[in-house]
Amino acid sequence: MGTLAEEIFSYKLGRPVNAGEIVIVDVDHVMSHDTTSPLAIQAFRKLTGERGGRVFDPARAHIVFDHIVPAATVAAATLQRDIRGFAREQGIQILQEGICHQVMPERGFVAPGEIIVGADSHTCTYGALGAFATGMGSTDIGVAYATGRSWFRVPETINVRLTGQLQPGVYVKDVTLELVRRIGVDGANYRALEYSGPLVEALSVSERFTLCNMAIEMGAKTGLVAPDATTEAWLRGRVNRSYPMLQPQNPRYERVVEVDVSELSPLVACPPDVNNVVPVEQVEHIQIDQVFLGTCTNGRLDDLAIAASILRGRTIHPTTRMVVIPASREVYLEALRLGYIETFIQAGASVGTPGCGPCIGRHFGVLGPGERALTTMNRNFTGRMGDPTAEIYLGSPATVAATAITGHITDPRQFLA
């Protein structure tokens, strides 16, 4: 009896647990990436002794290189060399084929009812498949690598109920920005967000990833969607083990936030906080130096398809540059096959290797002083993409593509057939 988060913890522990309890549970998968692994390895060594410690299960420990790939600096290359040494020693496979939050589900390391901890705040993305997944720091992940366990305070849950129909030119990214505007950047702190309602039921898994990805932007521990036939269809061929289709059972929510999406227009989050959300019309005059399509929020095939449909046969504005980074190798290959990549290149975009790209301001499109970017990212924090005087605006893939064509923030609806 409980919310989806309570149901997952109750299932794992074999006894009913309620929000507020602190529990220690076995985790199913543990993940870290090229930036957070070094400190996780330090913690692992500190706990297990300099040599001789073994990870709890190398097949369920995952290291993904995505933040600076291929390595852009000697410092990054040195850290990556050392992580490779650790992975070899422990028998862990290093995956360098895209953003961790895309690669983990694609590779079948996420299934409904599982508990997954990752050394990256956007680990909450996997809740789209009905798993309890949350971001932690490197020391917690080092402990999980060593013990296969972690401690949790079972969170209270806010139910986000989405109804209505999205208008043409309005996408799930716009819905997530509206949610951050309404709930605030810490309105869901320590809580789980459980998304439900007719709109959520109709969303693809990719769109559910976008929704859950930005749960952390409201402070939430995780975002969750109860698994259904859509989930099962997506998992077919990826996950071969059996998994429980846990559902909320007479849940007691801390509160319910109901949003009818029918009236939403395309939205933009203005710097430097994600809840500075305005309708696109209010910021259309703003000149943009660079647009960026990609990231764990919006770098999937459907995101690229939306942008390609707007850019096909057009070229990007001479004062604007465009960076496109598919979220994974799988997405990249499919986008190539479908002609999206050719569309982007012909329009004048730079297409990068799957990974995080300039989202963390280290390579492949960092911003100079005073420059402005419109991106499909999840954060618009000061300095995130490079110089601290640069400004980051957030929008949907459609808004990004429309802006690439005009050179200033643009309502994508004018480009829809």
């Binding site: 602190i22 500190k46 702190n189 300095g383 995130r384």
Partner: protein
């Protein structure tokens, strides 16, 4: 006793330690860039024992443990806030950086004042005004981790995570 560095709401991990400077595990290196986006003078002027006092949602954003590590390496004795973002709070406790939640202390502190924190009792004294404040007590499990000096030390002491 130390100087109060007063900050606002929603201080995110990107401004605590920008992504372009956290490609290292060298804590002294991290301290050099701590808070550089909003307080360029901080790294030069901070002294051991100083205290960060902030508003709501301190440490929001990424899971980078480099953020509490940078603050810790800069010599800051404790961070006092009206509330903390979840991952930062957990990271700070795990690595032994004292974090206290105390609304009153935040509302009655000014940048540049002097303060003292008695960690075991959660007592905060503003030495400039003489006012004393009691921080929120920790849940028992978390208090045991803090008392051990961090999660690694806690597990070593207990023999396992329990």
């Amino acid at each position: 006793m130390g100087r109060i560095w007063k900050l606002g709401d929603n201080i995110n991990t990107d401004v605590i330690i920008p992504g372009r400077y956290n490609v290292t595990t060298d804590r002294a290196q991290l301290a050099k860039y701590c808070l550089c986006e909003i307080l360029p003078e901080f790294a030069q002027q901070v002294r051991p024992g100083d205290i960060i006092v902030a508003g709501h949602n301190f440490g929001c954003g990424s899971s980078r443990e480099h953020a509490p590590a940078a603050i810790q390496a800069s010599g800051v004795k404790a961070v006092i806030a009206r509330s903390f973002a979840r991952i930062f709070y957990r990271n700070a406790i795990n690595i032994g950086l004292p974090v206290l939640i105390c609304e009153e202390a935040v509302l009655n502190s000014e940048d540049g004042q002097e303060a003292e924190v008695e960690l075991e009792q959660g007592l905060i004294t503003n030495l400039t005004t003489g006012q004393r404040f009691q921080a929120q007590p920790l849940p028992p499990f978390i208090a045991r981790i803090v008392e051990a000096g961090g999660i690694i030390e806690y597990i070593r002491r207990e023999g396992t995570l329990r």
